[in-house]
Symmetry: C2
């Protein structure tokens, strides 16, 4: 399936969503998108624009693009916008004319406090828009498009799900290669560079920036989280953790896997390592069972978090899951706790077609981190795993 068909599919979905939310027009207002990209634009127009540009979708199914004459041809080529208006000197007049013709009662624009993927409108562009609409009734009819964008982005079509599934499959194959490659004595750098080398050889992209992808954690001395892989050496009796996300055909994977490096004479992990694995796995499975259409994200997080705390571990300082798609953090609806930083987005309901990560970790003193992450799609009846979930600790021996 090519990108034009994907975009036509998303534009049709957008019209349904406008009707569902009772909004007349969705306006995406952008400029110089290579320098200042709007994450919502790629869903509905796979192009970059230079001058101020407006992409309008109406509840009656009209698609209008207004843009500088240099960029018009690229949007015409998409064959997704029946009306492409190009201008030479400024967007003020054509935008006012199109709005006067459509005469919408509500105009949803591309900003959001809670959802970065729906917040492509800059403050400068918003001020320009207000100036353009000055003297018209439309400045007072602007609302946030966050619910529209979240639904268009979050409700993955069958074609989108297949793209993520393929990215996940490749990622799992890379983990198998890591298992054959990694040996005690190697540094985090060496292991990460091996994976990057394979990603580059295969012509794949990265789900998040390469300096921090994959994240490799070796034993208790590695920094957790978003730090770049360092010079810590993988040692016997320690855990090896990898967080890896690739991108292929614009869609991403995001998976974490765990190994234990057997010490001399050991045939299995020591009890505290096995117990940490079991508790992390149990929390993911508990969260997975709670993940059903309609539930607010924080309630899913709460189930997984309770499992960790009930088993005597400190709670993880992040969300249990996030949406996954064109990027690793693919917009609104976080399976996260009711903290300030998740305000609003952890209250949003889970929807059919959402692809979520499920992830959490505990720390094992003197052994290292224990952290798993799976990718799942929400169905009418629950979830379907896109990854083959890790249900047993994996081993590395020397």
């Amino acid at each position: 399936m090519n990108n034009t068909l994907l975009i036509q599919e998303k534009l049709a979905q957008a019209t349904d969503i406008l009707n569902e939310l009772n909004v007349d027009v969705w306006l995406t207002f952008v400029r110089e998108t290579t320098l200042s990209p709007d994450p919502a634009l790629e869903l509905i127009a796979d192009v970059d624009v230079t001058w101020k540009s407006a992409f309008l979708v109406t509840r009656t199914g009209q698609h209008v693009a207004i843009l500088g004459h240099f960029d018009a041809e690229n949007v015409r080529t998409l064959k997704a916008y029946a009306e492409v208006v190009d201008y030479h000197q400024g967007i003020r007049q054509p935008l006012r004319e199109v709005l006067a013709r459509l005469n919408p009662n509500t105009i949803a624009i591309n900003y959001s406090e809670g959802d970065v993927a729906a917040d492509g409108l800059s403050l400068g562009m918003y001020r320009s828009l207000l100036a353009i609409l000055d003297g018209t009734p439309y400045a007072d009819r602007l609302i946030s498009a966050e619910k529209i964008i979240a639904a268009v982005r979050g409700r993955k079509s069958a074609a989108e799900i297949e793209r993520v599934r393929t990215a996940v499959l490749i990622t799992e194959q890379l983990f198998n290669e890591v298992e054959l490659f990694a040996k005690p004595g190697m540094t985090q750098h060496e292991i990460a560079d091996f994976v990057r080398g394979r990603i580059d050889e295969m012509g794949l992209g990265y789900a998040w920036p390469k300096p921090f992808n994959p994240i490799v954690t070796c034993g208790p001395d590695s920094a957790g989280g978003h730090a770049a892989p360092g010079d810590v050496v993988l040692q016997k009796g320690h855990t090896l953790h990898m967080d890896l996300g690739i991108k292929q055909h614009d869609y991403c994977s995001d998976i974490q896997r765990m190994w234990y490096v057997l010490a001399d004479g050991e045939t299995e992990a020591p009890p505290e390592v096995q117990r940490a694995f079991d508790v992390v796995l149990g929390a993911i499975q508990a969260g997975e069972k709670a993940l059903t259409p309609g539930i607010p994200g924080w309630q899913v997080d709460a189930v997984a978090r309770k499992h960790i705390v009930d088993n005597g571990y400190p709670e993880y300082m992040h969300a249990f899951g996030h949406l996954l798609g064109r990027v690793a953090h693919d917009g609104a609806t976080v399976l996260g706790p009711q903290w300030e930083r998740y305000a609003g987005i952890c209250e949003l309901p889970v929807e059919v077609g959402n692809i979520f990560t499920l992830e959490l970790h505990v720390v094992i003193p003197e052994r290292g981190m224990m952290s798993l992450e799976e990718d799942v799609v929400v169905t009418e009846s629950g979830v379907e795993y896109l990854s083959v979930p890790q249900t047993a600790l994996r081993y590395i021996s020397s």
Copy 2:
């Protein structure tokens, strides 16, 4: 020179500029910068951040970064921020505390109507900032940082100029390779793919997206401007035009070159082709002579535009030049006409250290486009060419 030193250099420059503009604090407020990058952030912190983050530079030379605990290590590693504050649950409290301590009378924030490179603050983030500052005196002390950002970005240091010079040198070598490769009968696609293949082989980046880089125009049937290279075939008696920009070590080139494809029996271009070249070259040289520190951008454009019109050609529908640096369109100060779309930014004065493109075109009926573009740096006394300017038409024969 590594990036850390480059950033320390720009932060020191920023403090000078704050004093020059009489501003107490420059605040860059960002989140999830892989999805929502702020073009100003890379100048002062070569990192990506996840949660809401604040980077503060004061006129007294203090540098404070406030960010989520996951991201703190990467900023500490930069060694450019003496104070790195990390938080777990929300930025509200630490940001209020830092501002209360600095107690600035003016806080310049990252937005601009006219300058996309200074407009990284989204409307959603601005609304969040107002909520965070609610009840403090600071919400009323916010101003646009556009002049600060424009100066920090626009006044290239010696190290930055060297990086652009290297990118230009490589680009000129690629044009030499094109001259040997291109033959009548080839399509725009073939010629563009040859260049992209060489760019990829050399491990270089693109100054603007690859689908439109290079732009290849063959004869009168090619679309001008930003259209993707198509299937138009290069023919004898037509012009070949290429607009190419590469990126190496984060800095870009942006150059246009012209060839004429000799027809059978021809030893030089026909008079109308030669005349078009001479007029375009004359306009670039006239503009170059006008380009001196302190002149508003539109006055430089006016000189070049007048040369074109005085010689009987229609005026070009774009600006004569733009800044060049980390991206092809590198921020404010456009050498452009006083049209709506250049409002404000064409009034800004040219400064020492600015790197500009100088570019314009005319169309030759039945022959094709004639378009040149040079890269120059503004000095105390005028300009220095970073490219070796094209002063004679180049030829391709079969």
